[in-house]
Subunit: 463 residues, 2 copies
Amino acid sequence: MEVELGGVQEKTPAAPVQPPAARRFLAAAVGKPKEVVCTWAKNVKKVATDDPRRILHGMKVGLALTLVSLFYYVNPLYEGFGVSAMWAVLTVVVVMEYTVGGTLSKGLNRGCGTLLAGGVGLGAHHLADLCGPKGEPIVLGFLVFVLAAGATFSRFIPEVKARFDYGTMIFILTFSLVAVSSYRVDELLELAQQRLSTIAIGGATCICISLFVFPVWAGGDLHKLSANNLEKLATYLEGLAVEYFGEKEELDGALVKDKSFLQAYKSVLNSKTTEEALANFARWEPAHSKFLFYHPWNQYLKVGTQIRQCAYYIEALTTHIIKSQTPQPSSDVHRRIRNACMEMCSESSKTLNELAAGMRAMTRPSAAHVHMEASGAAANVLKAIVMEGGAVVEILQSASMLSLLTEIVCCTRDIAVAVEELARLAQFKSSDADDDAHRHRSTVRPIAETEGSPHHVINMGGQ
Amino acid sequence: MEVELGGVQEKTPAAPVQPPAARRFLAAAVGKPKEVVCTWAKNVKKVATDDPRRILHGMKVGLALTLVSLFYYVNPLYEGFGVSAMWAVLTVVVVMEYTVGGTLSKGLNRGCGTLLAGGVGLGAHHLADLCGPKGEPIVLGFLVFVLAAGATFSRFIPEVKARFDYGTMIFILTFSLVAVSSYRVDELLELAQQRLSTIAIGGATCICISLFVFPVWAGGDLHKLSANNLEKLATYLEGLAVEYFGEKEELDGALVKDKSFLQAYKSVLNSKTTEEALANFARWEPAHSKFLFYHPWNQYLKVGTQIRQCAYYIEALTTHIIKSQTPQPSSDVHRRIRNACMEMCSESSKTLNELAAGMRAMTRPSAAHVHMEASGAAANVLKAIVMEGGAVVEILQSASMLSLLTEIVCCTRDIAVAVEELARLAQFKSSDADDDAHRHRSTVRPIAETEGSPHHVINMGGQ
């Protein structure tokens, strides 16, 4: 299941705008309408099957809108609120977000922004009143200009932008409306009260439906996204072990160039924006399922940083593998190197899979340690082969690949440290009561504390 | 000048929420209010000085709001539109964006969404009318549910999300308002007309102010962002040449760890979202300064991809350099390797700087070719030293670094190819009339066409 948020999905890049392309497009659109409709339908189906909760979200918005339209249909309600019922509809459309955290964040932003702006607007009205009928529009216009300019500028401040962007916009909107209409409307307080209650009703409807009808938790999605990303890297390394270092006689980049495992990790490279948005929303969410209110959402961002670091190396390694097409000699040293590489990939992949499984089950990833030690041992074997000094030319030929692979093993360790820290902060349980006694042994220690860690031992360069 | 957009600025990570931290924060907030105010003021000042156009943007929003409030203050205008003037204020607040393209995109989305939804809403009203007074609310409620659910779901489709997200939201909003109020309001057409004209006036005000008062062009910002990113990589490589391979006797990662050049390129790694948003807005913009309507904005995304690819290697190289702290022996081979590396860094840096300068001046980056050849030659020298086979241990020790550096030189070439393609598509002029004759010689050819290119020659691994 893909977690998508904001406008950061992969976009199909538009064809360069040139007459022939445009004519081709037109011909395609007019000549083969059936094909176009089919492609479109396939796209829509993919969006729905990738995450069926999207259909539910559409229905939830429909439900919320139908509920607030009762203010128009039911006579006693309409008599109480009148045209102000419009504000309930407006609030539902703009406040209802995909995740619970998003809706809560927007709803509270809207509530606070409206209240604050209403108060300031009433104050501006009284101030302008003191200046007589001629001065009133001038004072009001000046205040609207100054406050709107200031509030708009404040939206560029990172702290404000991250949490209160929408609230600030609502502040500008409500303040302008209140201040400006105060020039015309006499019963300003009554109007403000009516609007405020309909906005509150609209906001409350959204929040209730988000919370209680098939809720989509930003926190849960962030948790899943981290585990997914771990698994994507694991899939890559496993693919490398099987398809590249595996049974075939020759290592040939051309042969693996089109394999799917070389593509799966690409989305990890640009996951930062999505992760930050989800973590931002997750902070607004109440405790739910296994996530308590103080769940360490920040640590997910740190785990994400380590995962991306590893993905950068993988990206470098992939380019390298695809470029190197010359078959390599099959000497004894060559076979030993290849076996060590296969072991490193395979064990690192298992480590990442164990970390992902631990995250999903919210247990301490104690089994990961065994595989991490095995990949470190394989890296040491590799180092020993290199240090023997035999077959220098062969080693030189694959130096890039060997060193990148070694760095990836180091990254796996860094990821494990970050996930272990998350498990500690979020108080994940031990996976099994039996291995409780061994827990301390199998805790991943930060690199600095590890004596003779593979991190230093297997580092080929600069030692 | 930093180009910032959306919520993707660096966020100061919040401290882990624990009682002691909270208490410390409270103590800091209450105990040292002066310090807190100072930090805050410094932040605000930084936001303003980083890009002074932000202050102007605030004032532009204030101006637009003050202009549309005239509908309330001026008697003949108010008599014409009445309370509908509110919609002009609302439109200004939500449509006015930082860049011209953003405002145009939102304004046109709002206009089209409103018109379409108004038409469909009137149709729904007539349909419901046919079902008699008892059936009317049921039919209306059903239609609102179905259309709102469908339109909300369509916002998940990547193509819709990228261009028409806001328009779809406005469609839901307007359709619900029109359909639902049609149950109560008799003179629906007149109301719709009033609202539509005030929305049009609000939108037109925004677009005019965006276009004619200190316009901020998304296209121009994208152009500058690409050149900036090129320069950031160039700064890194220059820093590496001077501070790391430079005068000092020993290569020590610990010594360069805190240098600023190791940090400057970090923002390049996550520039994808910003670039895509800017390119998306740039497509809506009319021709301005040197950018024609058919300017190849997509090519900027391709240049950006190549730049990020290079940044991934740089990230790997940086981690490697910082980790390797052991001093290296100062043999003759060592000195020759170091000189070759210095030359590679320095010439690649000059290549990137020339490409950036060419982009800024919108001229063909012909001077870049000389430096690119020089860095390729240095990489060949490095390869020759390695192939001599002497001092094997030393070469093995720095194999990671040498191969990463070699890949970076290759990346520089890929970047140059992408920029050259941009120069061709966007019809950049030759930098000098004199070298017009040499232009064909100095055109960077795609790698596949280049015979004996450094790309293959200097590749250390897998050959």
